[in-house]
Each structure stands twice: as C-alpha cells, then as structure tokens.
C-alpha cells in the first residue's frame, strides 16, 4: 500500500483556532446514522432488484403473477423505480455524502451547534426517510399512486421525505461552513451543491406536480426537468464527490487539473436541469424547449469529458495502478459508466436519432445506466470504504465483495447493452409504419429474455451485498455486545 502523503490531523490547533479532531472521532460522531442509512439503502436495493426481476419476467410472460390485481406491471414498475431512486440511491447518497463531508471538513458533528443531539436527530431523520419510502411504496402497491413519473408517492409520503432530507442535509452544509480544513476541495463543492439542490428540486417538482398541481399543459417540462435534475444535480454530484475525493486517495495520487474541475462543476450545474428535456424531444412543448434539450444532451459530454480527463489523467505510480481494492474498482467503473451515459445521452438527443429511439429500450437503458452505473457504482465504492472505517475494523468478506463487484458490473453492462440494442431494433421497426405494433412486440421477445437474465444477475449481486453487509453489521453488533462496549 502506498505511503500516505496527506497531512495527518491530530488533536492540535490549526490556523483557524479550532481544534482539529482525528478521523476516529469524526467517525464516532456519525457512525450510527450512517450505518442506519447504508443498511436500509442496501435492503431497499435488494427489494428493488427483486421487483425489477419480476418485471422483466412479465415482459416475456405477461400473465406471470397475472391473477393478482396489485401485482400488475403498472403497479410494480413505479415501485421498482422509486425504490431504486429514493430507497437505495438517495439514501446511500445521504449516507456517503455526510460521511465524506464530515471527513473532508475535519469536524465531528458533535462540535457543531454545541453538540445538539445530532446523532439522535440524524437517526430519527433516517428512520423517517425509511418510513416514508416504505409507506409510499405500499401506497403505490395498494393503488394510491399519483401517476406522475418518478413522483408516485402520495403527498404525505413525499412531504415526509422532504422533511427528512432537510433534517439530514442541513448538517452537510453546516459542516462545510464550519470546516477546519482550508481550501475547499472539488468534492466539497459537489456535496454542498447536491445537498442544496435536492430540497429545491424535490420541493418544486412536488409542489407543482402533485401537491398543488399546475395546469396539465405545463406539467410536461416540469416533470422532465425533475427527472434530469434528480439524476444530474442530486445523485450524480454525490457520486462525483466520491470519485474526486476517494479515488485519488485510494490510488495514492492527486487531482492535478483543479481548474478544469471548476469548469466541469459549473457546466454540470448549468446543463443538469436542461438535460432532462431529452425525454420530451418532439413532444408537446414549444420548439425552443426541444432544441434546448438537444443542445443540453450533446453539451453534457463536456462535463463528462472533464471528469474522464481529470480522473484518468491523474499522475499515478506503479503501485496505485495495481490497486485491487474493491472501493477503487467500483469508483473507476463508475467513471466509465458516466462516459457511457454521456455518449448515449449525446447520441439519443440528436433529433434524427431520437425520432427512432425515443420511447424504446434505448431511453430505458440510458436511465438504467445512469442509476445503476454512474450513480450506484461510486456509491458502492463509498459503502465499501466507509463501513470498515466506521466499525473500526476490516469487516467485509473478500470473496463476497469480489463476487458482488463482478456480478454487478457484468449485470449492468449486459442489461444496458441489451436494452440499447433491443431499443434500436424496436425503434427502427417502429419507424416503419407498415410494421404492425404486435409484430414489433414479438420481435423484441429475445431481447426481453436476455434482459431477464441480466436482471437475475443484478438480483443475485444485490443479495450478495445484502448478505455481506448483514454479516458485517451483525458480527459488529455481537462483537460489541460481547465485549460490553
């Protein structure tokens, strides 16, 4: 392992006059809430993967589980999507984001605001989040969905989610304000931005689409803006923060293009919301919105290229190149997934291509690559890095971790490739008006069959992670119990 070249923080006074604490104290101050968040996030990931697998079976055997009214495709699909976004990804982002921010700012939570029951408050907020996700999912199951894509939770559930986020997110911003370290890192900008944007985005979208809906003629752009923003401006920045902060340290190198990273940050801010308009190219919106979607989709390659150049262009030594640690492998795969997302997005935004591929498996595959690849893979990296440090010991089963990694990466790339290829095929057939719709459905059958296999891989991967983390946390709990800590 390469020698650590970073300044060590011991209990001495820095130039700002605050007492900088060491990492253990920081970890101790956030241990319980983050473990609660990560543990529940993985639990929802398993449920979401199981539901996604059932959905993929329904595309090849529509009458699978057909007798039960609340297990139709239309009820399960929003459940799976919302569980992936709010149950797994957002929670892992909350957990990872708080941990990264606390470590990067060099302060335990208890030293802010006079140590007001921070841990208890965070745990309560985490529980509230999970209650909201659980009840919201059950509400969709029982037939109370709002019908707005990605915002299907009933109003009371989304309000609970919003409140819970505020209670957690405020700490990240406060930590940044009261940090003991000097110059802000790239990762910290992304974290501040992410924690500020989510309430604004989530609150606005819910207010205008579900709480007090505006006239439906205006809802299309707002809903598309929400979809783009939730991915590009809440989840992706946390993933990028993980990539920019953890990857250099794990590989024993440092970012050497901070100015480029600055450009990338502001461009992501600018383009992120507009990027969602690729869902409405050619839709019932004024022409300039369609064109804005096209331009944003193509220009999104710039922030993506910047991340690629920054990360892959870091000067590395021989040891770091040989790094086989699971967290860094996940983070690097996340970077490559982001490249895939950028390329797919740029191509699918061009009007001539969008004409054929919109509404097909290409857009679905792009969304899956976004959520499962560009966002989840870096979050897995943070998970694997954070839990041992929070528990204070090496707790992962190496074999399970390696299997999780392989199955996840293979599963994601298999799923996305099949969806994109199938979507291209379907899209070209849809563009020929003489081909009947039912024929197209039957042509898509082999692709749906292979998607089933890919979803099974992802389900097994999620179960492996679930087993691994349960083992890690349970043995920690038993260990602490036995030693009376």
């Amino acid at each position: 392992m390469s020698e650590n070249t970073f300044p060590h923080h011991h209990a001495d006074v820095t130039h700002e006059g605050h007492v900088a604490m060491d990492s253990r104290a920081i970890d101790a101050s956030v241990r319980l809430p983050i473990i609660v968040l990560f543990g529940n996030a993985v639990h929802w990931l398993v449920v979401a993967a199981a539901i996604s697998f059932i959905l993929s079976i329904k595309l090849i055997a529509p009458e699978f589980l057909g007798g039960i009214s609340f297990l139709t495709y239309g009820r399960l699909a929003p459940m799976a999507r919302d569980l992936m976004i709010y149950g797994w990804a957002s929670q892992a982002a909350l957990a990872g984001g708080i941990w990264l921010m606390a470590r990067l700012c060099g302060r335990p939570l208890g030293t802010i605001m006079g140590g007001v029951l921070h841990s208890t408050l965070l745990v309560c907020a985490a529980v509230l989040w999970n209650v909201a996700v659980l009840l919201g999912t059950l509400a969709i199951f029982a037939g109370y969905s709002t019908g707005v894509e990605w915002l299907e939770y009933p109003n009371w559930a989304s309000a609970m989610l919003f409140l819970s986020f505020l209670l957690i997110g405020i700490w990240a911003v406060l930590l940044f304000d009261r940090r003991t370290t000097g110059r802000a890192e790239v990762a910290q900008w992304y974290l501040v931005a992410a924690f500020c944007w989510f309430p604004w985005v989530y609150g606005t979208a819910n207010l205008l689409l579900t709480w007090k809906p505006v006239q439906a003629s205006a809802q299309g752009p707002i809903q598309s803006w929400y979809c783009g923003s939730i991915l590009s401006l809440w989840l992706l920045p946390v993933a990028l923060a993980a990539i920019y902060s953890l990857l250099p340290r794990l590989l024993g190198c440092h970012l050497n293009r901070r100015n480029l990273a600055t450009l990338g940050f502001w461009l992501l801010l600018l383009l992120g919301g507009w990027n969602g308009m690729d869902r409405l190219i050619g839709g019932p919106v004024p022409a300039w919105m369609t064109s804005a979607g096209v331009v944003a989709g193509v220009l999104f390659m710039i922030p993506v290229a910047i991340v690629m150049i920054n990360i892959l262009g870091m000067p590395r030594n021989a040891e770091s190149l040989a790094s086989q640690a699971i967290p860094s492998k996940f983070l690097i795969m996340g970077v490559y997934s982001l490249l895939g997302v950028g390329l797919l997005g740029a191509l699918a935004s061009l009007p001539d291509i969008s004409a054929s591929v919109r509404f097909t498996g290409v857009t679905e595959g792009k969304t899956q690559l976004w959520i499962l690849g560009a966002i989840s893979l870096p979050l897995f990296g943070v998970l694997y890095e954070a839990i041992p440090q929070l528990l204070g010991r090496d707790c992962w089963n190496a074999a399970l971790s390696a299997r999780h990694y392989i199955l996840t990466v293979v599963g994601i790339w298999m799923l996305v490739s099949i969806m994109v290829l199938g979507g291209l095929f379907t899209g070209l057939a849809l563009s020929d008006p003489t081909v009947s719709f039912l024929n197209i459905t039957s042509y898509a059958y082999p692709f749906h069959l292979m998607e089933c296999a890919a979803q099974l891989l992802l389900l097994v991967a999620a179960l492996i992670l679930g087993g691994n983390i349960t083992r890690a946390l349970a043995s920690d709990y038993l260990f602490n119990k036995n030693t009376g800590k």
Partner: protein, 216 residues
C-alpha cells in the same frame, strides 16, 4: 490483498492535494467550439422562441402567426392501410390472384377512363361489389367487402396510394369527394353490382381544392 483500513487516513486538508495544470488549448478550443455549436443550433431551431411554435424547423424571428408544418404524405398512410386491409386479396404487388381477385395495376377502374369515373371507384370502396366484374379484359366473380367503416381520409389515402404505385398514374383522391359520394349514396346498404355502377355516369372529382381545406 485486503485493503488495510486501519491505516488509511482519508481526511480533509486540501492544501497541496489538488493542483492546477495549465489547460491544453486544444481542450479549451474544442469546448468553446461545442458551446458555439450549441448557441447556433438553439438560434436556428427554436421557432423564434415563440410559445406557439412547436416545429423546430421553423425559424421565425419576425413574429407573425404560427407556421403550419409540411402535410403528411397521404401515400404513406395509404400504403399502411392497404397493407393492413387489402393485400389479403389484391396482394402487395397489386396484381391480385388470377381468376379470383382482380388486379389494380393498370386497372381501368382504378385509373379511370371514359367509362369508369372517380365516383365508381369511391362507391366501390364504400359498399363493395358482388357478382361478376370485368377488369382489363378478364372476368372475376367474387365478393369485395364494403369499407364504409373507414373514414373519408382513410379511403382517400388508400385510393391515392393505389393510384400512384406500381406504375399507376392517377390523381390523388380528395377526402371531400369521398364525403360527397358517401352522402349521396347513403341509402345504399348492399354491395353494388357492375351493372348498377356502370348505369351511373362516370364523374371526375372536382379540381383539387386548395391545400388549405383545414382551418387556419
């Protein structure tokens, strides 16, 4: 090899951990180029940023009413409908089946001549035909079903298509003409016979009305 977590000091302290390298001019240049492309694209594909312009291929900076987009080619719609409804008998080549289903290629019924008018063709589509029929010197004795359940637009599209493919060179059929014939022959419930049709004088459809048959 397991990563030794105990000794990994992931900490803050940005001093000296992130440095600046001069940006490559090629990189900056290509980014600027991309942004310029974006600007030009937006300028020329936004319909003047008007709220009532939905088509991106209209550059409308001068104001004024919304421009109508190019009309959809009826032959494409007609071909689809023909494929769905007519190929069973008349085949995708338009040649029909010898002795059973009459051909459409070069047919005097389709292309209209001195004895066969546009009205005969439309009436044939609306109510169908039974009994024996002469087409291009051949005799056919079969039953063509009625198609009055299709709309005027759809019938006009199919007829326009069959008049324009396989070497046929007939005029497009106007949906308004179909509507007129439908109204005139509303009392007819059964399929026509050839004799009944030929007893009616051949009528050419009125000169095509201007393209703006729709409201503004």
């Amino acid at each position: 090899m397991n990563h030794d977590h105990q000794n990994n000091k992931f900490e803050g302290g940005g001093e000296g951990t992130e440095t600046n390298r001069p940006l490559s001019p090629w990189l900056v240049g290509s980014f600027m180029l991309a942004l310029c492309w974006g600007g030009f694209y937006l300028a020329f594909n936004s319909g003047g940023f008007r709220q009532d312009v939905y088509e991106t291929n209209v550059v409308n900076w001068a104001g004024g009413g919304a421009q109508a987009a190019a009309p959809v080619d009826p032959k494409v719609i007609g071909k689809r409908l023909y494929t769905q409804n007519c190929v069973v008998c008349h085949q995708s080549t338009g040649l029909g089946v010898a002795g059973q289903f009459p051909p459409l290629v070069g047919s005097e019924w389709v292309n209209s001549d001195s004895k066969h008018g546009d009205n005969h063709l439309v009436m044939l589509m609306l109510n169908g035909l039974q009994g024996s029929m002469q087409v291009l010197g051949g005799s056919y004795n079969n039953a063509m079903p009625q198609w009055k359940q299709l709309t005027d637009d759809q019938i006009a599209a199919i007829l326009t298509y069959i008049r324009s493919d396989w070497g046929n060179k007939g005029d497009a059929i106007d949906p308004a003409f179909v509507a007129t014939i439908r109204k005139e022959q509303a009392a007819q419930n059964e399929a026509w016979t050839q004799a009944q049709l030929m007893a009616m004088a051949p009528v050419k459809q009125p000169a095509a009305a201007s393209a703006a048959t729709a409201t503004k």
